[in-house]
């Protein structure tokens, strides 16, 4: 069978898996962020973005739990636990609404500015384009294959994590990579049959959709309409994100999840509460399950709830319990990989460089990465004017003391991440030029959410302080 063809039955099963990811996200959002009575949640773009990111994380956690219980991955076993409660909840609402329409009129969602509606139209167009273009070519090489699809094939074949099989691949892949993408791909493989390398492509276009919805949300929630439109357009049209939507890498999914973590963290800081804390913790876990870089983000995310608890803005016991579970889940995969000795051996004849050599190479790495950021499209065409606009907005806001705290917090997070990436790259055992030019554009994607957030909060008059 051609890797480009798909029979209708497999297509239906694949559609069911994608729908399950959304349903999983939707269900948990119903608990963590219950909608106001009568509001049509399906019309709220904020729910779509969260469901698109958190749903696959929940499915991955479910599959990890199944493996821990010794149960084999089976399509029905994974899909039904989400659909049964969803259908029951939906079924329970229908007759109630039919019998006695609520005397209270539905609470309408706050109206979106016209510019935001236009941008949401652009989001749909870009998503459609990325979806179609992504389906032109199956995943067949590069990190999309070696970090995710190859591992997913092992999970599918063995019906579980199968660490021994991961280690004994004839051509070693990056089997140490966190499994969110691989597990969801394995589920799609179980559904899609021989067209494996094709049916996983929409997964990446959906991450692009989540990213774009969050960009629009962040800009229009925090900035005046004119500025929000400019920043959102500049972010939506950054080529790096659109390119990632068709490639099959997990960087855009991580970037979107980091942005969601930032928004959830801001909401938690401004109005601490149990549900907000749980949503924030789930975002941190989703980051850690997506990429190795996300593990570092997930660990660093523990600082905020700890700080809130220390300031008595969150009950200490509750925060400690959530933090404990969160950190256990963030570290679950690295510990599992360590215990089973999953990891690609260092390249022959080239171990990681020591700090001395790393320091001499760091300026070159930093300048290459900075060039990628500040070049407005003349040489590097990854970001266009995105960094210029977002950092200019953020830095300009620093002159105002009442806006300084929020902007500084976001900028510090981004700067720390940027510096860590540059340092790791300068120590790489791989060919430096090859590694920096191939990895840095994607790594910058994880830093971009902080720049966007810093720009978005640049007009926020309420300083980030205890209420």
């Amino acid at each position: 069978m051609s890797p480009l063809s798909l029979d209708p039955r497999a297509l239906a099963a694949v559609a069911l898996v994608y729908a399950t990811q959304l349903v999983a996200g939707w269900l948990v959002l119903g608990l963590l962020r219950p909608p106001p009575a009568g509001r049509r949640t399906w019309r709220d773009p904020r729910r779509w973005s969260r469901a698109l990111l958190l749903g696959p994380a929940l499915v991955a956690l479910q599959m990890l739990a199944l493996d821990a219980l010794g149960l084999h991955f089976h399509l029905g076993l994974i899909v039904l636990p989400w659909w049964i409660p969803a259908l029951l909840a939906w079924g329970a609402r229908l007759p109630r609404q039919a019998r006695a329409p609520s005397p209270i009129p539905p609470d309408p969602a706050p109206p979106l500015p016209a510019a935001a509606r236009w941008l949401l139209g652009l989001v749909v167009l870009l998503f459609g384009g990325a979806l179609v273009a992504g389906l032109w070519m199956p995943v067949h090489t590069g990190d999309a294959m070696n970090q995710f699809a190859l591992n997913a094939r092992v999970f599918e074949t063995h019906g579980g994590l199968a660490p021994q099989a991961l280690k004994s691949l004839a051509i070693p892949g990056h089997v140490e990579y966190p499994p969110l993408v691989s597990l969801n791909e394995a589920l799609l493989f179980l559904a899609g049959g021989p067209a494996r390398a094709l049916v996983i492509k929409p997964f990446f276009a959906l991450a692009f959709l989540a990213w774009m919805l969050l960009v629009v949300e962040a800009c229009f929630a925090l900035l005046p309409v004119g500025l929000a439109t400019t920043l959102a357009l500049v972010a939506l049209l950054a080529p790096a994100a659109a390119l990632s939507a068709t490639e099959g890498y997990a960087d855009l999914r991580l970037a979107a999840t980091v942005l969601l973590l930032g928004l959830a963290g801001r909401a938690l800081w401004l109005r601490p509460g149990r549900r907000r804390l749980l949503l924030y913790a789930l975002c941190a876990v989703a980051c850690a399950l997506t990429k190795l870089e996300g593990v570092a983000v997930g660990l660093a995310a523990a600082v905020l709830p700890a700080l809130l608890a220390a300031r008595r803005r969150l009950p200490a016991g509750e925060a400690a319990l959530v933090l404990l579970v969160m950190l256990a889940l963030v570290l679950a995969w690295p510990v599992y990989a360590h215990v089973h000795a999953l990891g690609r051996p260092a390249l022959v004849g080239a171990e990681w460089h020591d700090a001395g050599i790393g320091l001499t190479r760091l300026p070159g790495v930093l300048s290459t990465m900075l060039l990628m950021m500040v070049d407005i499209g003349i040489i590097e065409r990854h970001w266009g004017v995105f960094w210029l606009v977002s950092l200019a907005l953020a830095l300009w806001a620093l002159r105002r003391p009442d806006r300084r705290t929020a902007v500084s917090a976001a900028l510090l997070c981004g700067a720390a991440q940027f510096l860590i990436y540059a340092t790791v790259l300068s120590l790489t055992p791989a060919d430096l030029e090859w590694h920096v030019t191939t990895a840095a554009p994607r790594l910058l994607m994880h830093v971009a959410p902080w720049a966007l957030l810093a720009a978005a909060v640049s007009r926020e008059r309420t300083p980030l302080r205890a209420e």
Partner: protein, 180 residues
């Protein structure tokens, strides 16, 4: 006005980058659907097409020996799972030179990758082939673009091996080992 200018620049960058990227994606689609191409970058597409087509010709429990001249990372396990695999690779300096002409960094990375394969005991030598053949039910030769530098399929396999041709697909050939 400044906002309009910035958005205009961004739109221009986006349009240029995306039109190039879409062109490459469309080319990829044509490579997957059309005739084989004499291009180094086609190798991984060839692997996907050819191994995917040959895979159903082997029973799921068959032990497979893959012999290849491609120094690129090809995920043989992805295409041939769940069959136990042995992969032996041969590095031809002329091929690396050919890659170096296209992308020096890629050629350097390919050379390192082959060194790693050497350390893992997966470099194709007569001795390793002699050891691996009795443990295999099928031999899959993925020649990649070795023909471009004059390497032939027959040079990779020993003359004494009793091989029955099962199928050919592009530059890939599948043999069944005859047991006496």
């Amino acid at each position: 006005m400044l906002a309009g200018l910035l958005v205009g620049v961004q739109l221009l960058v986006f349009a240029r980058t995306e039109s190039e990227a879409l062109g490459l994606l469309w080319q990829g689609r044509e490579w997957f659907a059309g005739p084989p191409r004499p291009d180094v970058a086609y190798l991984t597409v060839a692997a996907a097409r050819e191994l995917g087509a040959l895979e159903p010709r082997m029973p799921p429990q068959a032990r497979v020996l893959v012999v290849t001249t491609s120094p690129f990372v090809v995920p043989y396990d992805f295409y041939l799972a769940p069959r136990p695999l042995t992969v032996l690779m041969r590095l031809d300096p002329a091929l690396v030179e050919r890659y170096a002409a296209v992308s020096p960094a890629t050629a350097r990375q390919a050379t390192r990758w082959l060194a790693e394969m050497e350390e893992r005991g997966q470099a194709l030598t007569d001795e390793r082939l002699r050891e691996a053949l009795p443990r295999a039910d099928y031999v899959l030769v993925f020649l990649g673009d070795a023909a471009a530098v004059g390497l032939q399929r027959a040079e990779l396999l020993p003359a004494h091996a009793r091989l029955e041709l099962v199928a050919r697909e592009g530059q890939s050939t599948l043999y069944r080992l005859e047991r006496s």
